[in-house]
């Protein structure tokens, strides 16, 4: 049987989905790690010659991966490397803090690998990085530091190794 706190979470997820102003209010009141300056890198070559990689915080991973930790209220700062050839049937979403029913039916709602393949076929981009990287959002407390100091820079280095010229990030 579902625990009362799980039911409360399910209700909240729906309330936030249908009342976007609530999310805005939450964002205004909550403190975030605010950016000092803005990092900047130039696209070195035209988009049509650039290798593009996807990174998502929507909790997507391969079915064979270990799921993200849903028991820790501060979230899970780890990531999963998803081969870019993965199809919807290979993937699953572990994330209880948003309504992913649409993305469960069509993963492109949060991780548009099929659309990226189409843009490659149209030569709008030059290539697709060998891996997409999946995080779950909703990271808080001590895990924020792990994300900022360890796992996010690690993914940045992996993208470099992958030969990615640009990255597109998608939230939940």
């Amino acid at each position: 049987m579902a625990l009362p706190k799980d039911i409360a979470n399910t209700v909240l997820v729906q309330v936030y989905k249908h009342l976007p102003w609530l999310g805005s209010r939450w964002a205004r009141r909550r403190r975030f790690v605010e950016g000092q300056g803005v990092p900047w890198a130039h696209l070195a070559k035209p988009l049509s010659e650039s290798v593009v990689a996807l990174v998502t915080t929507a909790g997507v991973h391969l079915k064979s991966h270990e799921p993200f930790d849903m028991d820790d209220p501060d979230g899970d700062p780890s990531f999963r490397a998803i081969p870019s050839g993965a199809r919807g049937d290979d993937l699953v979403i572990t994330h209880k803090y948003y309504d992913h029913s649409a993305a469960d039916r069509d993963i492109n709602v949060v991780l548009p690998l099929d659309r990226l393949r189409e843009l490659l076929a149209e030569k709008r981009i030059g290539g697709i990085g060998p891996f997409a990287y999946g995080f779950m959002g909703h990271i808080d407390g001590p895990h924020l530091r792990t994300l900022v100091e360890t796992t996010a820079p690690e993914v940045a280095r992996l993208l470099k190794q992958d030969g990615a010229d640009a990255a597109v990030l998608t939230p939940a």
């Binding site: 950016g35 890198a41 130039h42 988009l47 990174v55 548009p112 640009a166």
Partner: protein
């Protein structure tokens, strides 16, 4: 998500992020963002709407070539379930 984006950009890889919470994006300040007034869980739009998803992804990619001011938030203004994507 913006924190991850900033880390990737800091490594020398240009990035663009889709945003559905502008207030968060304004605070975290990623280098380039495409903001959509869409419900949580739908950054590329509706399920099985390939034209919509492709347009949004394409808009995000365009930002990599067109944005010159760090911290720019682009707003194409698509209305949820109202805009007709070709």
């Amino acid at each position: 998500m913006g924190l991850i984006q900033r880390a990737i950009e800091a490594e020398g890889i240009p990035t663009v992020g889709i945003s559905i919470l502008k207030e968060v994006t304004q605070k975290v300040r990623p280098p380039r963002a495409l903001f959509l007034r869409y419900p949580f869980g739908h950054p590329l739009g509706e399920a099985f709407h390939a034209a919509q998803q492709r347009t949004i992804l394409s808009d995000a990619l365009s930002a990599l070539e067109t944005v010159t001011q760090p911290g720019t938030i682009l707003e194409p203004g698509y209305r949820w379930r109202r805009h007709r994507f070709e």
